[in-house]
C-alpha cells in the first residue's frame, strides 16, 4: 500500500442515510475474481436508469462533482461484508468517506485498502452535506479534518490502523511476524 499521510480535496455529497453495500456495488457485479475495475459499477443502480442512461439528479453524475472525498448521510456502508464496496469506491477515485456513522465491517475493509473512513459529529456532517464541493484537508497523523473556515474537527482513528496508513504497511506482515506466538498458542491449547 502507498503511505497515506494527508489528503486535500473537494467533496462529493450523497445525502442519503443508510447507504448499504448493495447500493455501493450491486451483488450481480460480485462474480469477479479480481479487485480491479469495479469503479465502473459504483452505485450502478443509482447512477443509471433502466435504459442505462445517466440519472442527472444523482450527485456523482453532476458536472461539478469531482473530488476524492465522499460525504454521506448517517450509517454509510451497512449490510454485507463485501470488500468490493471499498474496492469500487477506490477504483472510482475516492480516498476517504465522511459520515456521522460508518458500519463496522465496511470501515475495517476500507482501512485495509487505504480508503480513510472519517466519522464526524452530526452537526459537522450536516454542514458538509449542505455544502457540497467544499475543499477539505484530512490529516492522518493528527486524525483531523480541516474545514474551509480553518476549524479543526478530530475524528477517531484506531492507532494501529493509523500507523499502517502512515507507513503504507499492511496487517498481514504484522501477523506473519507473530508466527512464534501463534505457534506457542496452538501448543498451549493442544
Amino acid at each position: 500500500m502507498q503511505p497515506f499521510t494527508s489528503l486535500t480535496s473537494r467533496t462529493v455529497v450523497l445525502p442519503s442515510t443508510n447507504i448499504d453495500t448493495d447500493q455501493i456495488i450491486p451483488a450481480r457485479f460480485l462474480t469477479t475474481t479480481t479487485r480491479h475495475g469495479l469503479g465502473a459499477h459504483l452505485f450502478e443502480d443509482r447512477r443509471y436508469d433502466e435504459h442505462h442512461a445517466l440519472r442527472a439528479d444523482f450527485p456523482l453524475n453532476q458536472p461539478q462533482a469531482s473530488g476524492r472525498i465522499l460525504v454521506a448521510g448517517r450509517n454509510f456502508g451497512c449490510g454485507s461484508s463485501r470488500e468490493h464496496a471499498p474496492w469500487a469506491l477506490i477504483d472510482y477515485g475516492f480516498r476517504a468517506v465522511i459520515s456521522s456513522e460508518i458500519a463496522d465491517i465496511f470501515s475495517n475493509n476500507s482501512l485495509k485498502n487505504g480508503l480513510l473512513p472519517v466519522v464526524v459529529d452530526e452537526t459537522t456532517n450536516d454542514w458538509l452535506i449542505a455544502h457540497p464541493g467544499v475543499e477539505l484537508t484530512l490529516d492522518v497523523a493528527s486524525a483531523t479534518l480541516s474545514l474551509p473556515d480553518g476549524a479543526i474537527v478530530h475524528f477517531p482513528l484506531e492507532p494501529f490502523a493509523r500507523h499502517c496508513l502512515l507507513e503504507g504497511l499492511d496487517e498481514l506482515g504484522f501477523l506473519l511476524a507473530r508466527r512464534a506466538q501463534i505457534d506457542a498458542y496452538e501448543r498451549h491449547r493442544a
Binding site: 475474481t33 475493509n109 485498502n113
Partner: protein, 466 residues
C-alpha cells in the same frame, strides 16, 4: 474473579496476544468457512506472496452465492448460465485443490448455504471463534460461538496465519421475556428487535440474546435470531449454549464423540455469562407484544406489525425516497398490498423447521394465480430431509417451485431475481434497494407469513389462515 460474559470468555480463550493502546489483539480463529464470492482475491494474495494455508484442517469451503438452483444445472448437463459465476465456481475448485482445502462442491450431498451447513455438520460449536467472508456469519453465534463476517483481505489473513487483528467490541445484552404468541416466530422477534434498535443500533457491539424467550427457542430459531444481528449493525450475536444446544450437536458428523464429547461438554457448560456479569448496554424486549412483522421500506429497521399502518416521517427525505421506491404510501395499511413473488429461502429461514412452518399453511392450498413462489432449501441435507417427509410435494402441489440449495433470490447473484417494480415477500434478511434485482421491492417476513401471502396473493396476516 470478576464475573464475565459469554463473549468475554470466548474472546479471552482466543487471545494469542491481548490488545494494547498501540495494537489490536491477535485473535485465533477456530473455524474458517469459505465461499466462492469473497475468497478469490484472498487466494490471489497467498499466491503473490508465496504463502501456504496455515491450517487447512480448520478451513472448509463450499459454494452457495453464485450457484444455480435449477436441478438440471446442478446435476444435469446444462451449464451455469452466467459465465462469470461459472468462472468463480471453477476458481474456487482450483484454489481449494491447490491449497489443500476441503471443498463441498456443487454436487456434494452436504453442500449448502455456508451458514446452514456449519451447524448442520456439527462443525460450528460452542466457544469457538468462527469467521467467513460473509456478514451473516453471525448465524453461528446461536451455538454460543463468537462468529462474525470479515472482508476478503481478512480472509487472506486467516488463511495465512489463522489469526485476525481485532479491537475488542462492546457488549449489548438483549433480554427477552414472555411467550411468543400463536403465529409469531423467531423472525418476527428479530425484526421487531431491529425495529427497536435501528439498523445502526448495534454498531460496535456484540449482542448476547438472553432470557426465557430465547432459552425456549429451538436451534433453528436461535440461528434466525443471530443471523440478523448484522441488520442492527452488530457484527456478532450470541446465545449461551444449553441443553438445547448440546442435544442439537450430539451425533452430528463433525461434532466431537466419545470421550472428546464429554470433555467438550464440560468446557461448553462453563461458557454462559456469569451471574452479575456486566454488559456495556442492556435492552429489554417483551415477547408477548410481538406480532407477525413485515418490512415496508428499504432497510430491515423499517418494519411494522402486519396489521399495522405505514408510518409517516415528515421532513425525512431518505424515508420518503424509500417509500417511493417501494411504491407505498405513508398512512396506508400494509395488509392487502399486492404480492408478485414469494421467496422461501436464505441463511435466515431455509432450515427444515422453516420449510415445515410454511408447509402448514400451504398443505391442501394453492398459491394465488399469477404469483411465483420459489422454495430454496438451505442445504442439500435440508432438501433431502424435507423430501423424506413429503414437504416437496406440498410445495409443488401448491404451485411453488422446488429448487436445489443456495443463496438464490436473497441477492440474485445466480440469476434468480425479482423483476423491476415487482413485490416480493421474502424470508431473507435484506430489503435493500436492488437487493433481489434492479427495481425489485422486497418485504421481509417469516416463513409462515410468506406462505400466507403466497396463498392470498397479497400481504396477509398468517393468523387468518391458521
Amino acid at each position: 474473579m470478576t464475573p464475565r460474559t459469554l463473549f468475554d470468555k470466548v474472546w479471552q480463550r482466543h487471545e494469542v496476544s491481548p490488545e494494547s493502546a498501540s495494537a489490536p489483539a491477535v485473535l485465533y480463529v477456530d473455524l474458517h468457512l469459505l465461499h466462492e464470492v469473497t475468497s478469490p482475491q484472498a487466494f490471489q494474495v497467498l499466491r503473490e506472496r508465496g504463502l501456504a494455508v496455515r491450517c487447512p484442517e480448520r478451513t472448509l469451503a463450499t459454494m452457495d452465492h453464485s450457484t444455480p438452483t435449477h436441478t438440471e444445472q446442478v446435476f444435469g448437463g446444462t451449464p451455469i448460465t452466467i459465465d462469470s459465476a461459472a468462472r468463480q465456481v471453477a476458481q474456487l475448485e482450483r484454489n481449494c485443490a491447490q491449497f489443500n482445502i476441503e471443498l463441498l462442491a456443487l454436487r456434494h450431498a452436504q453442500r449448502g448455504i455456508v451458514h446452514v451447513i456449519g451447524p448442520e455438520l456439527g462443525l460450528s460449536q460452542p466457544g469457538q471463534t468462527i469467521v467467513c467472508g460473509d456478514s451473516h456469519t453471525s448465524t453461528h453465534g446461536a451455538l454460543g460461538a463468537l462468529a462474525f463476517g470479515i472482508g476478503s483481505t481478512e480472509v487472506g489473513h486467516v488463511l495465512a496465519t489463522q489469526c485476525l487483528l481485532q479491537r475488542k467490541p462492546r457488549t449489548l445484552a438483549i433480554e427477552v421475556a414472555g411467550e411468543l404468541d400463536r403465529g409469531v416466530g423467531a423472525k418476527d422477534l428479530i425484526l421487531s428487535i431491529i425495529g427497536r434498535l435501528g439498523v445502526a443500533g448495534g454498531t460496535g457491539h456484540v449482542i448476547e440474546y438472553r432470557g426465557e424467550t430465547i432459552r425456549a427457542l429451538d436451534m433453528d430459531e436461535r440461528m434466525t435470531v443471530c443471523n440478523m444481528s448484522i441488520e442492527a449493525g452488530a457484527r456478532a450475536g450470541m446465545i449461551a449454549p444449553d441443553e438445547t444446544t448440546f442435544a442439537y450437536l450430539a451425533g452430528r458428523p463433525r461434532a466431537p464423540a466419545g470421550a472428546a464429547w464429554e470433555r467438550a461438554l464440560a468446557s461448553w457448560r462453563a461458557l454462559p455469562s456469569d451471574q452479575g456479569a456486566l454488559f456495556d448496554r442492556e435492552v429489554f424486549i417483551d415477547a408477548t407484544a410481538v406480532a407477525p412483522m413485515i418490512t415496508y421500506g428499504t432497510n430491515p429497521g423499517m418494519v411494522i406489525p402486519i396489521d399495522g399502518h405505514i408510518p409517516a416521517r415528515s421532513g425525512d427525505a431518505a424515508f420518503d425516497r424509500a417509500l417511493a421506491y417501494m411504491g407505498l404510501n405513508a398512512g396506508e395499511a400494509i395488509k392487502d398490498q399486492k404480492v408478485n413473488v414469494v421467496f422461501l429461502g436464505s441463511c435466515t429461514n431455509a432450515r427444515l423447521s422453516d420449510l415445515r412452518s410454511a408447509a402448514t399453511l400451504l398443505r391442501g392450498r394453492h398459491i394465488a394465480k399469477g404469483l411465483t413462489m420459489l422454495v430454496v432449501p438451505g442445504s442439500q441435507q435440508v432438501k433431502r430431509a424435507a423430501e423424506a417427509e413429503g414437504l416437496d410435494r406440498v410445495f409443488l402441489e401448491a404451485g411453488a417451485e422446488w429448487r436445489e440449495s443456495g443463496c438464490s433470490m436473497c441477492l440474485g447473484m445466480n440469476g434468480d431475481m425479482v423483476g423491476r417494480g415487482q413485490y416480493c415477500v421474502s424470508t431473507s434478511n435484506r430489503n435493500f434497494e436492488g437487493r433481489q434485482g434492479v427495481g425489485a421491492r422486497t418485504l421481509l417476513a417469516s416463513p409462515l407469513t410468506a406462505a400466507a401471502c403466497a396463498v392470498r396473493g397479497c400481504i396477509t396476516d398468517p393468523r387468518e389462515l391458521m
